[in-house]
């Protein structure tokens, strides 16, 4: 009797769990979403994945390390380490180095209107038409540099974003670390 009761309970819980796994399924990948929120969305592909989302998914599934994103820099790596509860590490130089934020500029007198850069831009920040001059919408440019290589006449350059009143930051006070006075351990006590 009790054997049948236990079997019955097993069946009941099996049905409940099966129902719950369908009904309360978490859509998407929450860990990948959180990782993606930390990534800078430059969409540059320097991490060897085609965009920030695929990289986030690769980290979530353990196929990629957290130190492959040069635009995110050390700060990004630390945030990822914090999120995932792993040890922080320096940026892997294989994937590039951390650079100040830059923006692509097209030298318009040299542009031949080939549209190659327009196709390369991951965020559609370049406007223009075939045989017409192209230009970068600077506000939307993520500085991914993907437009540089395809340009047949090398008329695209990356320029640093100058500091002005709108992006200036108060500098934090410089902490001068002074060696603390060390107690003299060699004093002979009587």
């Amino acid at each position: 009797m009790s054997f049948l009761l236990i079997c019955g309970l097993f069946v009941l819980f099996g049905i409940l769990l099966g129902f719950a796994s369908v009904k309360f399924r978490v859509k998407g990948d929450p860990v990948a979403d959180k990782i993606e929120a930390i990534l800078p969305q430059t969409q540059c592909g320097q991490c060897s994945f085609p965009g920030c989302r695929p990289y986030a998914e690769a980290i979530a599934s353990g196929q990629a390390d957290i130190n492959q994103c040069p635009p995110g820099g050390q700060e990004g790596i630390e945030a990822l380490a914090d999120l995932l509860g792993v040890e922080s590490k320096p940026l892997n130089a294989e994937f590039g180095v951390e650079k100040p934020k830059r923006v692509a500029i097209i030298h318009e007198q040299d542009c031949i209107g080939c549209t190659k850069c327009i196709q390369a831009c991951p965020v559609d920040a370049i406007v223009g038409a075939a045989k017409q001059m192209h230009t970068v919408v600077a506000n939307e440019c993520t500085g991914c540099e993907l437009c540089i290589e395809p340009c047949p006449v090398d008329c695209i350059v990356m320029e640093p974003i100058p500091e002005d009143l709108s992006n200036w930051q108060w500098p934090a006070p410089v902490v001068v670390a002074k060696p603390a006075a060390q107690p003299d351990l060699n004093v002979q006590h009587a």
Partner: protein, 495 residues
């Protein structure tokens, strides 16, 4: 009308040496016309104006030279006649010490002005007309924030205003321009208060003045006795720094506290500086735009400290020169007061609408290069904080850039008054830590916003590319099918 109002205290605050007499010994003088007037195009953080004049154009005093559609923007008017030299990069009165686009006018000394706007009899005008005039005349908060006065008078439909506070509690050491204004133009201040009461459609105004300003109090009382309006009362508030802070003054006068992240209008109060009230009087009754202001030039680093009635846009160097030039002791040039002001890299920088004080400080007046030592967790800063924050916690979290914790400890409620820094026995530059942390938080928020936009655009780009590919494949498939069908039709006809 004397007030028998019961006053309240705010937490913390300090009794600081006032150093006010330094600039009050000489009468207010009118500054001479500078060779150049400079108008930076950033009104306040996030509000940029566009020049409405062309290089080479001749402008007259009172003419609009820059404006914008931004709801917080107010026009800027030329303070004298001359020729626009251009829109050039010029060092801005900004803590960064960076240049900003500015309209520079070479004055011609002719002092020709456009006809003033018609004077309004405000009692017969609608509040909307008065607010429109206040915006048109370029009036902003003259206490330091340069916030659009017209916007401040529109608290929104969900807030009921019952009290207007005129802030004449000039609490920061050295600054005396509001004091000088109340002594010389008490009538304009009181008339401005009446206009504001009409614009807000309310019946109570408190004019707050610190109790040590006896001459200013007497001047106000004389005018109030003449005007005999029961809606106005002047209140002498205790001289504790920072009583002149908007929220602190509201607490002292009413016992109410504006909520964190909210505005004074949430507790039914609108607060305006006394200088702003006088500017409103000039704008509404005399039809004059805001092109002049009183500015204190003081400190041991200048020979003859005093208050100047100066054209907005005048380079600081001109005011210093008319004050007898620098003394050999001068160490640092500060705009604003010693507590909340910031150092300037050069004196070619012009005074702006919100510039109330130029402090040429000698070494004895600024604590330059005091040795910073480690925090000993004494807790004095928390006792001194007028906002009831925990400066020590904020300091630790600022040092390690823990922005989430800083938010939890209400970093953005910090008014950067500097009380914590004054009492700190280890001389830690606390306010600079908070300023840096605030700016870091804002930059991060901006970056997150940009990243979200980039993500949206990238997703749209990917979706479009996938769609185009699918469409292309579909077209190819359709062509192939059509070709196959045509072939099949051809075959039977041949056989």
């Amino acid at each position: 009308m004397y007030s028998m109002l019961k006053l309240f205290n705010f937490h913390g605050g300090l009794q600081l040496p006032r150093h006010k007499q330094v600039s009050l010994e000489r009468p207010v003088a009118t500054a001479s016309l500078p060779e150049q007037l400079i108008y930076p195009l950033q009104l306040r953080p996030g509000v940029r104006l566009t020049a409405t004049v062309q290089p080479g154009e001749r402008v007259l005093a009172g003419q609009v030279i820059a404006d914008s559609e931004h709801f917080l923007a107010t026009p800027v008017h030329a303070a004298s006649s001359g020729v626009v030299r251009g829109i050039v990069d010029w060092l801005a009165p900004h803590p960064s010490g960076l240049p900003d686009h500015a309209v520079v006018i070479d004055t011609d000394g002719l002092e020709q002005a456009v006809a003033p706007m018609p004077g309004l009899d405000y009692r017969h005008e609608t509040p909307a007309t008065i607010k429109a005039r206040i915006r048109q005349a370029g009036v902003v908060g003259l206490g330091g924030a340069a916030f659009s006065t017209a916007v401040k008078l529109n608290p929104g439909p969900n807030r009921v205003i019952d009290t207007l506070i005129l802030n004449g509690a000039e609490c920061e050491p050295y600054i005396t321009c509001d004091n000088a204004l109340m002594q010389t133009r008490a009538r304009a201040v009181v008339e401005g208060a009446l206009i504001l009461l009409h614009a807000l459609q309310i019946g109570r105004c408190l004019i707050a003045v610190e109790d040590h300003m006896t001459e200013a109090l007497a001047a106000l009382d004389a005018v109030l006795a003449e005007v005999k309006d029961r809606r106005l009362s002047r209140v002498a508030v205790p001289s504790v720094y920072p009583t002149g802070g908007e929220r602190q003054l509201i607490k002292v006068l009413t016992g109410k506290e504006a909520p964190s992240g909210g505005i004074p209008a949430d507790v039914g109060i609108v607060c305006q500086n006394v200088g702003t009230a006088a500017a409103i009087y000039d704008a509404v009754v005399n039809g004059l735009p805001l092109t002049w202001r009183l500015v204190t030039v003081t400190g041991k680093g200048v020979a003859r400290p005093s208050n100047w009635l100066a054209r907005i846009g005048t380079p600081i160097a001109d005011l210093i020169e008319q004050s007898g030039g620098y003394t050999p002791d001068v160490r640092r040039l500060i705009i604003g007061g010693p507590m909340m002001g910031f150092a300037l890299p050069d004196d070619v920088i012009p005074i702006a609408k919100a510039s109330n004080c130029i402090l040429a400080a000698a070494l004895s007046e600024v604590d330059v290069d005091r040795e910073t030592r480690a925090c000993i967790r004494c807790g004095e800063c928390a006792n001194a904080c007028p906002v009831n924050l925990l400066p020590q916690q904020l300091y630790w979290y600022s040092r390690v850039n823990n922005l989430d914790k800083l938010k939890q400890f209400s970093l953005f409620d910090c008014i950067e008054c500097g009380c914590c820094e004054v009492v700190c026995p280890s001389h830690i530059p606390l306010v600079n830590y908070y300023r840096a942390a605030k700016s870091k938080t804002l930059t991060k928020a901006k970056q997150a916003e940009k990243a979200a936009i980039a993500k949206r655009r990238h997703d749209a780009n990917q979706e479009r590319k996938a769609r185009e590919q699918a469409e292309k494949a579909e077209r190819a498939r359709a062509r192939k099918a059509a070709l196959a069908a045509a072939k099949q039709q051809e075959q039977p006809s041949e056989s």
